[in-house]
Symmetry: C2
Subunit: 138 residues, 2 copies
């Protein structure tokens, strides 16, 4: 085990994030989902029919990242994409029955991730929120 006391905080942050995502993905694999796809499905389920751009903004990735992600979700039948009749540049994404079903199953798994690790401390949450809030995205 490396001597993490000497790691820069940024390095701790990304390593922790990668390990947590890894744990998530392990649980989600049997469902055919991954961590980012669950984030996206969640956002679509929440925000009703929504454009890919807004979706990208809401989970803080680039539009170029959201495109292929939606393509994968669509090819598996978890979402639907249609052109917005009122602005033909944009699309409207909505979740399918199958997507909703999978999303519910994934929420059932949620509790089993990272049990034993005190990940829900309020102070940790507050510091992470500060980072996300204060880091400017271009």
């Amino acid at each position: 085990m490396p001597d993490m006391d000497y790691w820069p905080t940024s390095r701790l942050l990304s390593t922790a994030a990668r390990l947590v995502e890894l744990g998530w993905n392990e649980r989600l694999r049997p469902l055919g989902l991954t961590y980012p796809t669950v984030l996206t499905l969640d956002a679509v389920a929440d925000a009703g029919p929504i454009s890919p751009g807004k979706l990208a903004e809401s989970i803080r990735v680039q539009a170029q990242t959201m495109g292929p992600l939606l393509t994968r979700l669509e090819s598996r039948g978890f979402i639907r994409r249609e052109v917005n009749r009122f602005d033909r540049r944009s699309q409207l994404v909505s979740i399918t029955e199958l997507g909703l079903e999978l999303l519910n199953q994934s929420h059932g798994q949620e509790n089993t991730v990272l049990e034993g690790i005190d990940l829900d401390s309020e102070s940790l949450r507050e510091e992470l929120i500060a980072i996300v809030r204060d880091t400017k995205i271009n």
Copy 2:
């Protein structure tokens, strides 16, 4: 800005990590480096001639991830790889003069990242260390 109070902590964690890495990469781009390459160069500089496997272990990525990363670093002349004479299965990685020089420049940039964000609080570090320590990697 989304309502992060309702985000799961894991989501906060990976979003924060991605944004921090983004900020890092912006600073490193003029040097021709990226966040993971600096991690790797750092580890090589620290641990002297070291095998790719140990290197992967020390920064907690898979060996299959380390391989291509070293190939890129080598093609830019930042590191050197040679076969270990005493165990011809393995290699020994060492940093070059050029790599050392770049690494020093990147350390100079380090201070300008994330200034204004309280990223170095001790409690944040402790919680992150706990996550990295307690998350089993296969």
